[in-house]
């Protein structure tokens, strides 16, 4: 069995469409120094660094090199640093990387840092289009929003989900993000406002889509010996993993269901010994760059039956007052520094378990779930965090 690992520190930055008040290393240092402060350690205490970003979405390649001095290496260079990039799941994959650094027994305290300055890229959707095959799929404009639009169209067709359901997802998340000082979009609107917003990729309107953000996030993982000394309430990793779907979108025909996520969820729940996710998970931070995805994720993660995701929004189950609050931070829909967004889900879930989520805290959280998707919906990561050591 792997060594037990816990999250002991979290650092978030303010996010906006262009953080022109700070240079790239300053942005990263904002997250790193906050995480180090959170568990009251100096940079010397960090044994290794995992850095996540998606270079093609930045105005700079290999930002981990310019930012290396900002990553705990300050004053202690020549530490192990591993860069991880897996598209939208980059943050989730980097968190898994931090976990395995410690679980291997090779390192005790590992800093995971993710950053992205989408504000400096020319056109993120065009960049993402280069991910798909140049012969078969690039020509019809495959990217994030177009794929999400296919998911929405299918879900509406097969399960009767409506544009109003999507609008309600947007309203709920914006309601939540107004409690989150680190979110990019912090304004509220009504279902009617959402339904009147501009159509971007049918049936997704402006209100159904995430912004593109500049921001960074840092999370510190520690071994079972070190964790209790570094945090009053460490967030223990109960189970985590990733799944890889087919490269060609045409080989993933069921856009109305997210089967790869459902398979991963079953694996992770088995590892975490979770029988009834809706009852046993207290809060979930899901990666919903588009409103429809939150509905698909409810179903794939077993919070409800297939096709019934919209019901959880309508009956308030996933609102802050509901049985299983989802995305108290407002999620990716309100803040998307791409390579960091997955790690922000892990960070927010950890804050909930540690009881440090301030105005967005869900009461009495014991178990939290963090999710990310990426690679034109081909990858997912999940991490279950718990107040109790496994």
């Amino acid at each position: 069995m792997p060594r037990r690992v816990a999250i002991v520190g979290v650092g978030l930055t303010r996010c906006s469409s262009w953080r022109r008040d700070v240079s790239y290393p300053e942005l990263v240092y904002e997250a790193v120094s906050a995480a180090l402060q959170d568990c009251d350690i100096g940079p010397d205490a960090v044994d290794a660094v995992v850095y996540g970003s998606m270079d093609p979405f930045d105005g700079l390649n290999a930002p981990e090199r310019w930012c290396v001095d900002a990553c705990a290496s300050a004053g202690a260079l020549n530490k192990p640093l591993l860069k991880i990039s897996t598209g939208g799941t980059t943050g989730g994959s980097a968190a898994l990387g931090g976990y395995y650094h410690v679980a291997s027994g090779m390192f005790d305290v590992v800093l995971v840092v993710c950053s992205q300055r989408v504000g400096e890229t020319l056109d993120a959707q065009r960049v993402l289009n280069t991910a798909v095959d140049p012969v078969y799929e690039r020509g019809f404009g495959a990217g994030a929003i177009t794929v999400a639009a296919i998911q929405a169209t299918s879900h509406m067709h097969y399960y009767g989900t409506t544009e109003e359901d999507l609008a309600m997802v947007a309203v709920q998340n914006h309601e939540n993000s107004s409690n989150n000082p680190y979110a990019h979009l912090r304004f509220k609107f009504t279902v009617e406002d959402a339904l009147n917003s501009r159509m971007l990729s049918t049936p997704l309107r402006l209100s159904d889509c995430c912004p593109s953000s500049d921001g960074a996030c840092a999370v510190i993982f520690a071994s079972e010996e070190k964790a209790p000394k570094l945090a009053k309430h460490p967030a223990w990793v109960r189970a985590c993993g990733q799944i890889t779907d087919n490269y060609f979108m045409g080989d993933r025909p069921w856009a109305e269901d997210w089967d790869s996520l459902a398979i991963l969820a079953r694996r992770i729940y088995r590892l975490a010994k979770i029988d009834n996710p809706r009852r046993e998970i207290d809060v979930a931070e899901l990666y919903q760059a588009f409103t429809i995805q939150q509905i698909l994720e409810y179903e794939a993660l077993g919070f409800c039956q297939k096709g019934e995701g919209a019901k959880l929004i309508r009956d308030g189950t996933t609102s802050m007052q509901g049985e299983l609050p989802v995305d108290p931070s407002g999620g990716v829909l309100c803040n998307n520094p791409i390579g960091a967004s997955g790690l922000i889900r892990v960070a927010e879930a950890a804050l909930q378990v540690m009881g440090k989520a301030e105005q967005r805290q869900v009461p009495n959280v014991k178990t939290a779930l963090a999710h990310a998707w990426g690679a034109t919906i081909g990858f997912h990561t999940l991490m279950v965090l718990d107040k109790q050591a496994p």
Binding site: M1, P2, R3, S23, Y24, M54, D55, P56, G59, L60, N61, A62, E64, R65, W66, C67, V68, D69, S73, L77, N78, K79, P80, L81, L82, K83, I84, S85, T86, G87, S93, L96, G97, Y100, H101, A103, S104, G105, M106, V127, L128, T130, A131, V132, D133, G241, Q242, I243, T244, D245, N246, Y247, S260, I263, G374, A375, T376, G378, F379
Partner: protein, 383 residues
């Protein structure tokens, strides 16, 4: 490490200037399939896949989308080190050591048909270094220049590295450049960035390399002649070139110290039988000798001149021909590990070093970084 890890399968394509009849994923598939065949495993028996590479040099975003399924990773737990494949290898070792998986496949590729000078220029900050024209090759040249100046290394002494490695590549059927060159050829080749001349620099090769790793009980059932991972260490140096001692490789020295400590190696020259180092330029092979603790600072050229690192020497270096003969850009480091595995398992064919039991592989994450600042060292043993 919690559990012991070994390499049980190696696969590589023939490396060449271009592969016009194979798409990206076909090249990766070929290497992965050969590695699985070498380990006599079915793709279903691989638990986790770690890809590698640098999207901006490939011209493709999220290259692991196609690399991982091509390398038996469909519906499996995968990740990508946005580095040279040698760091994907390090990550796979951690995943196996943690006991979460029994088998792993690591894949790296080279697809940099065009010079990565522009994309490597964009690695640098937009204020100071980028407008100066800093890039991978110009910063490597700055290091070579500082090293040559500090220790009086002559162009001929550096060129001897090229002559050695290119001669070695003649015996390696997978190598890209398999024609020997003389010291004179090197010093007369056209200048690229002072003091580097065309033949001091590696080619750009297209190809892929894959390794299958296994841990614990599972491995014993796969094969008996495995290459044990005795130690892995890696480190990244600071960013500011102006603040660095350009004539040495501190991150390689730090990585080496970690790997030697894990492998309990005290006298590397006596304990290592063969090494594959990342000779990103001829000067960098000499600098690596020093950072790896085989020679005093400035003593690298003498080690070569005394024949220590030649074929038949005490510690043959790059019997495969090294990076100067085959450069998979973000796969060259993993190719060093693959060659070291072939050596310690006695399967290197015509370039086999007799009786090699302990091998060192050094990979430079040149893909992403300026000035040879990210290094990884792997020690492999038959025992």
């Amino acid at each position: 490490m919690v559990s012991r890890v070994a390499v049980v399968g190696v696969g590589q394509t023939y490396h060449e200037e271009a592969k016009s009849t194979q798409s990206y994923y076909d090249v990766a598939f070929e290497a992965a399939t050969k590695a699985l065949e070498d380990a006599a495993l079915d793709k279903g028996e691989i638990d986790t896949v770690i890809a590698s590479g640098w999207d901006v040099a490939d011209g493709r975003t999220i290259s692991d989308m196609y690399l991982v399924p091509a390398a038996s990773g469909y519906l499996k737990d995968s990740a990508k080190a946005a580095e040279d494949g040698v760091l994907a290898f390090a990550y796979a070792c951690m995943r196996l050591a943690a006991g979460a998986f029994d088998t792993a496949l690591v894949i790296a590729h080279g697809h940099t048909e065009h010079p990565p000078e522009l994309v490597s220029n964009v690695v640098f900050d937009p204020f100071f270094f980028r407008p100066m024209g800093a890039s991978t090759i110009t910063t490597l040249a700055l290091q070579a220049c500082a090293y040559a100046d500090k220790y009086g290394v002559t162009p001929e002494q550096a060129a001897a590295v090229v002559a050695k490695n290119r001669r070695n590549a003649v015996d390696n059927p997978y190598a890209h450049l398999r024609s020997p060159v003389s010291v004179e050829d090197v010093v007369r080749s056209p200048p690229v960035a002072w003091p580097l001349r065309a033949l001091d620099c590696p080619p750009r090769s297209v190809g892929a390399v894959a390794l299958v790793l296994a841990a614990g009980e599972r491995m014993r059932r796969i094969r008996s002649d495995v290459a044990w991972v005795r130690g892995v260490g890696w480190a990244v140096d600071g960013y500011e070139l102006g603040a660095a001692d350009l004539w040495r490789l501190p991150s390689l020295a730090a990585a080496t110290a970690r790997a030697y400590a894990a492998a309990s190696i005290k006298n590397p020259l006596d304990e290592l039988d063969v090494a594959e180092v990342h000779d990103i330029t001829s000067y960098h092979e000499l600098m690596a000798y020093e950072a790896l603790g085989w020679a005093q600072p400035g003593g690298g050229a003498r080690l070569l001149e005394e024949g220590v690192t030649g074929r038949g020497g005490k510690l043959p270096v790059n019997p495969s021909g090294g990076v100067l003969s085959t450069n998979l850009h973000a796969g060259s480091g993993l190719l060093r590990v693959a060659e070291a595995v072939l050596q310690v398992t006695g399967r290197a064919g015509a370039h086999q070093v007799e009786g090699a039991r302990t091998a060192l592989a050094h990979g430079l994450s040149a893909a992403a970084g300026p000035a040879a600042a990210g290094n990884c060292v792997v020690v492999l043993g038959r025992d």
